[in-house]
């Protein structure tokens, strides 16, 4: 004990530290990160093989398939968000740390998005090619996926926090999250479809952006509250 009122580390330092630690952990175990990405790529490439190469059909179904696959891939990766922290006791250490819990939860969610959301966005143009998507529509697809995966990571963190001690797997988590994720899927897929049909699509992007901002400001608090309940 050197002083009675030691300097507390800042909250952004805490956010950055936990995000960096999770990314470092993912780096040491790349398999966990690549699984959802493979899933996304596989669904998107198998679908055209199954329905046939008709250009009309592919252009029509492309946005929907890409979006559903992205949603499911994100759900797959959410299950493990807090699980290892719960098992090795570092979740408890997070709960008794002087850092605000919502900030730490946000840091973990940020890392999750960087590890599993962003790669989906980045490989989506490649997969969009299989659906004969024109270049400007690919841009719209990437923008909607960018906003959409942010929403899904944030919403998913609430579900992951609620189910952390339960060992029920992905089923319960998906059931909890799907009603909240439905608007994201509808907005995302329909915006891309509208763009593909040369229709006005900007509204959808604004709405997705609004959803992302709302999730960003509310989800960390819900996740923190859920974590406290789960570790009682």
């Amino acid at each position: 004990m050197t002083s009675t009122n030691p300097q507390q580390p800042g909250i952004f330092a805490g956010l950055a530290a936990i995000a960096r630690r999770d990314i470092l952990l993912a780096w040491k175990r790349p398999g966990d990160v690549l699984n959802p990405l493979f899933f996304f790529a596989m669904v998107c490439t198998l679908f055209p093989l199954a329905v046939g190469p008709s250009a009309e059909q592919l252009i029509f179904s492309g946005p929907g398939v890409l979006w559903v696959a992205a949603l499911l891939a994100t759900l797959l990766s959410l299950n493990t968000l807090f699980m290892s922290d719960h098992e090795d006791g570092s979740l408890d250490q997070m709960l008794v740390s002087p850092q605000p819990l919502p900030v730490l939860a946000l840091g973990k969610t940020l890392a999750h998005w960087l590890i599993s959301g962003l790669p989906l966005v980045l490989i989506s143009p490649l997969l969009a090619l299989t659906y004969r998507m024109p270049g400007d529509v690919v841009g719209v697809l990437m923008l909607t996926l960018l906003l959409g995966t942010i929403c899904l990571s944030l919403l998913g963190s609430i579900g992951a926090a609620l189910t952390v001690g339960l060992h029920t797997g992905t089923a319960l988590l998906s059931l909890l999250i799907l009603p909240l994720a439905m608007p994201v899927l509808l907005l995302g897929a329909n915006t891309v479809s509208l763009a593909a049909g040369n229709d006005i699509y900007a509204t959808g992007i604004w709405a997705l952006g609004a959803y992302a901002v709302a999730a960003l400001s509310l989800a960390p608090y819900a996740t923190a509250a859920a974590l406290r309940i789960s570790s009682e």
Binding site: R21, R29, D88, G89, P98
Partner: protein, 203 residues
């Protein structure tokens, strides 16, 4: 009430069993609070309640005469918890683990190398923690405790997995911490020989 850490009328019910009822204690700088009891008697639950992880049926825990629930962040900034599960990442090395911990809570201005030497873990610095033995991992958790600049130590079964030298070292560390004006809450099911003012709570 003038004690630094105190509690009164604590009752905790888990499921259908009442783990403790109307329990109270007081702890001042330089003192050790020893939680004694059989396996499953609620030592860890009491520890978790003190740390604010379990909500109590009745009663309140006070830090500086203020309820902990009203100053959670300040209270958590004054404690470090050596839990049964170490809370360290097996995939990361000792240095990576402690660097992360160092950003979460205030750090003491001490020589890290000297602490590693004393805990005999300095040659394990670059190994991932999962390749260390349970006792060695325990020592890393102790290093985290020593590096934090906090007055209150919560120690849940600190002697688990440690060899005789390790157990002796823990006793020494606690004595030094108390002498410097620190406080310690310890759950133990075995007799311990610590030279300090000991308040006992039997569960």
């Amino acid at each position: 009430m003038t004690a630094k850490l105190s509690a009164s009328e604590l009752t905790l019910i888990r499921g259908e069993t009442c783990l403790f009822q109307d329990l109270g204690f007081a702890l001042n700088p330089g003192e050790l609070l020893l939680l004694e009891g059989q396996n499953g008697s609620g030592k860890t639950s009491l520890m978790r309640s003190i740390a604010g992880l379990l909500s109590l049926e009745t009663g309140e825990i006070f830090w500086n005469d203020e309820p902990v629930s009203r100053q959670r962040q300040e209270f958590h900034g004054s404690l470090v918890w050596l839990a049964h599960r170490t809370g360290l990442k097996g995939d990361l090395t000792l240095v990576e683990n402690l660097r992360f911990e160092g950003i979460l809570r205030p750090q003491a201005d001490v020589d890290q190398g000297a602490i590693f030497e004393r805990l005999e873990i300095s040659r394990l610095k670059s190994l991932p923690l999962r390749s260390l033995s349970a006792g060695q991992q325990r020592r890393v958790a102790l290093a985290r405790m020593l590096l934090a600049d906090v007055p209150l130590w919560l120690m849940d079964e600190p002697f688990t997995n440690l060899d005789r030298d390790g157990r002796k070292l823990v006793v020494q560390l606690v004595e030094e911490h108390l002498e410097a004006g620190g406080m310690c809450v310890m759950a133990a099911h075995q007799d311990i020989d610590i030279n300090a003012t000991i308040n006992r709570v039997a569960l």
